[in-house]
Symmetry: C2
Subunit: 109 residues, 2 copies
């Protein structure tokens, strides 16, 4: 499995995507806090975190008995880079939309 596909797979689950969003917003959080919001047991969340870790999307820092998690910018940039490198393609429809808007502006009413 390539790193990109592993990243897509990691984000293809509502619990994991939610964890990533939470970490991007709140910064570093202990596993326990993520369990509270996830609506499932700690072992389940722990394994979701493992999937995210193995995809390089989150980092783990140990502080006593707690594991502090944070989103990893480098991992997330893999997705961004893929999207941006295909920008020429997905902007096609936007170009058409812009053209339509401009055409309308040039011919008011």
């Amino acid at each position: 499995m390539t790193p990109l596909i592993r990243s897509f797979a990691a984000l293809a689950d509502p619990t994991r995507l939610n964890i990533i969003e939470q970490l991007m917003q709140s910064g570093e959080l202990p596993a326990g806090d993520l369990v509270k919001d996830a609506g499932m047991t700690a072992p389940a969340v722990s394994r979701h975190l493992k999937v995210l870790r193995e995809a390089g999307l989150v980092r783990q820092r140990i502080d006593g008995t707690r594991r502090l998690y944070s989103a990893n910018p480098d991992g997330l940039r893999l997705i961004s880079d893929w999207a941006i490198s295909r920008r020429a393609f997905w902007e096609q429809s936007l170009d058409r939309l812009e053209t339509a808007i401009l055409t309308e502006e040039r011919r008011p009413q």
Copy 2:
């Protein structure tokens, strides 16, 4: 399942990601051509195409007995928009890299 998660799930498979890349590069292709490259049977590819269709990542056009597939820019923009709207976050490490480079430039040798 949200559209974004459905998109991530659709791209989280090597066969499907490969199909998307092929369609972005070559434009419209019949299902048969995609089967040739996929290294698996036609029914398997057909179902992969269904997953991509349901995620809005490809479009299907009927031409006689053939189904012509093309990548859908609107679907792909969903991923781009997500990545770009989180740009402030994933650029963090890039900023640090830039800072390091600039610092080096300011202090040559």
